[in-house]
């Protein structure tokens, strides 16, 4: 089967835009997993609930979708802090917290379908034309919503990366990850820092949720379809690395979209996990090569 260059470009570009959305969700998972040691499934549920809250505020109170962030961001910050506080109080280990967030994930699905019904809800009819009419750039069409996704992704991932890298606070987070005991001795206050990280991740779910509501019809089971890509993107990007998560998510979605041009699309979830297994199988090899190279360099330096 031959595929035109235009179709391929359009498909890959769509992969970039959807990848941006998943990158924002993966950002939250990656930060909590990498820096707090909590593989937080309920982050996906929180994102979905953010989408539903956006839907309700837009359709019931006729707010602009962007104005809803003024409500959802602070609320979700508090939710994030509360969850981390709870895990701290019960002294949850890595697996226990995974189990708890998984349980919350299942609970959230039922709660959402009770409050908002199990049916598909679409925000599209409520949006103004300048959000739904796609623009033509040459012969390629770009939806304004996709531009929103792109901007949100760059803002959040950029600020997370910059905060981790350049602020004292971010260095504290990194120190905590490398050695909590030593970090504490040097004056990093672990509990407040982890609460704030969890809160910020929660707040990012509010922004991601708004993009979800703009982009796709909402249904309670959506997060189930996201788990694969989000988890794989977090792992491939390197846990705790904001830019890595975004790049990995974009790459994954581009590969998945390209795959569906040539092969049956219903197999594309298997592609994602196939890549994960390939990565996990190859990473010891990569580690070995890296060790060899670095030890070689060290030897040369001695000579």
């Amino acid at each position: 089967m031959t595929v035109s260059t235009l179709a391929l470009t359009q498909t890959l570009l769509n992969g970039v835009f959807v990848g941006c959305l998943f990158g924002v969700i993966a950002l939250g998972l990656s930060l909590k997993w990498g820096h707090l040691g909590v593989a937080d499934f309920s982050h996906l549920s929180l994102t979905l609930i953010g989408g539903y809250l956006t839907y309700t505020l837009v359709t019931e109170l006729l707010w602009s979708p962007f104005l809803t962030l003024a409500v959802t961001v602070p609320v979700f910050f508090v939710v994030g802090v509360a969850l981390q506080w709870f895990l701290h109080v019960i002294k949850a280990e890595a697996f226990t917290s995974l189990l708890i967030t998984f349980a919350l994930f299942i609970v959230a699905e039922s709660v959402v379908s009770m409050i908002w019904s199990p049916d598909l809800l679409s925000l599209r009819p409520w949006l103004t034309d300048d959000l739904t009419q796609s623009m033509k750039v040459g012969s390629i069409s770009v939806a304004p919503i996709d531009v929103v996704a792109l901007v949100v992704a760059f803002l959040l991932v950029g600020s997370a990366a910059a905060m981790l890298r350049y602020t004292r606070w971010g260095r504290g987070v990194q120190a905590m990850r490398q050695d909590p005991g030593v970090a504490e001795t040097f004056g990093v206050r672990l509990l407040p820092i982890s609460l704030v990280v969890s809160g910020l991740v929660g707040a990012s779910a509010a922004a991601a949720g708004m993009v979800v509501a703009l982009k796709m019809p909402l249904s309670p089971g959506l997060p189930l379809n996201w788990i694969g890509i989000v988890v794989v993107a977090s792992l491939l990007g390197g846990l705790g690395r904001p830019v890595g998560a975004l790049v990995a998510a974009v790459a994954l979605l581009m590969i998945q979209n390209a795959w569906s041009l040539w092969f049956p699309p219903q197999w594309s979830p298997a592609v994602t996990f196939g890549l994960l297994f390939l990565f996990l199988a190859l990473s010891p090899v990569v580690q070995l090569v890296r060790d060899r190279l670095s030890s070689g360099a060290a030897r040369e330096a001695l000579v």
Partner: protein, 328 residues
């Protein structure tokens, strides 16, 4: 491994035999309606909780993939019924064998790297669930996306004739799972598995072949779950990917094992009884969603307040000194 009869096994084995006999004796009393159906489901949950605990409870490697082995068993049995005229026993054994082989292959791959411990092991098993789901729903031999009608093939056979026959199979499987769990709790093999949970590198240095033991225990655990899938296929009558591989199944199994406590081999049985009863009572109250919410929230509460589960609490009440030593 040398199998010599351990006298401390006598009591558990007698208890299990008595339990299975009591379940079978109860059968005429239960009639053929709701009570038998409920009893069958309860027995299947016991099999799943005990077999999950056999690997995950003993070694501390918590798997989210137990529903997959159960589901594979269901689908293999369905395929046997659909493509052949073979009796139920063949479907049962095929279900256990395929699920066990899948667990074996996965175990051989995953345990070869020490990185896959803790939450990463949980995620790999979860990823396996998605891969298997994709494969099953795209393979026309197994499902192909339309679901499989099992009932039309089992009508007129012994197993399809009555739910009471399913109940008998369920009771025998529960007995098998219980014996495996009890034997594991007293033998050296079980002690070796538990040493992996306590400190894997110390266990390895003391001569426990941790890799081999993990692989074997995982395969046995998967095979027992697969066996339970065969009667489940007949019970469902129509198997379909969404229901068979639903994610709440592994969650419920984990919840039963944790709620019951894993420091005693019979803990998961207690957990299964509580969860099944709770769920049934809640379903009577209102919607399935409310039931799911309450079960999920109670899992969180149980983890928070009773890390050793109900059997741990029972031991604390009966033998406070022993419980104190275990807590150490």
């Amino acid at each position: 491994m040398k199998l010599s009869f351990d006298p401390s096994l006598r009591r558990p084995l007698v208890m299990i035999a008595a339990g299975v006999a009591a379940a079978l004796a109860l059968l005429p009393v239960l009639g053929s309606g709701f009570a038998v159906t409920f009893g069958f489901q309860f027995l299947i949950w016991i099999v799943l909780a005990l077999s999950w605990s056999l690997f995950s409870g003993n070694t501390g490697y918590a798997s989210f993939g137990h529903g997959v082995f159960f589901g594979i068993g269901t689908y293999v049995a369905a395929a046997v019924f659909r493509s052949t005229e073979a009796p139920f026993v063949v479907a049962l054994l095929a279900a256990g064998l395929v699920a066990g082989l899948l667990a074996l292959v996965l175990g051989v791959a995953v345990f070869s790297s020490p990185r896959f411990a803790g939450d990463l092991f949980g995620l790999v098993t979860l990823a396996m669930a998605f891969i298997v789901m994709t494969i099953v729903s795209n393979t026309s031999f197994l499902d192909g996306g339309t679901g499989v009608f099992v009932r039309e093939h089992t009508d007129g056979t012994w197993i399809g004739a009555s739910t009471r026959h399913l109940f008998v199979v369920g009771a025998l499987l529960a007995g098998l799972a219980a014996i495996t769990a009890a034997v594991t709790s007293v033998t050296r093999w079980g002690a070796a598995l538990r040493s992996i949970r306590d400190d894997e590198s110390v266990a390895e240095s003391l001569g426990v072949p941790t890799y081999r033991y993990k692989v074997v225990a995982f395969a046995v655990s998967g095979a027992i779950a697969g066996l339970a899938g065969a009667p489940q296929a007949v019970f469902l009558g129509y198997v379909e990917v969404g229901a068979v591989f639903a994610l709440h199944i592994p969650l419920f199994v984990i919840m039963m094992a944790i709620l019951g406590g894993m420091s005693r081999w019979w803990g998961p049985v207690v957990g299964a009884a509580v969860v099944v009863a709770l769920r049934e009572a809640l379903l009577g109250l209102g919607s399935a969603e409310v039931a799911q919410i309450i079960v999920g929230v109670s899992l969180v509460v149980v983890i928070a307040v009773m890390p050793h589960g109900l059997s741990g609490v029972a031991v604390k009440v009966r033998k406070p000194q022993l419980a104190k030593e275990e807590a150490r």
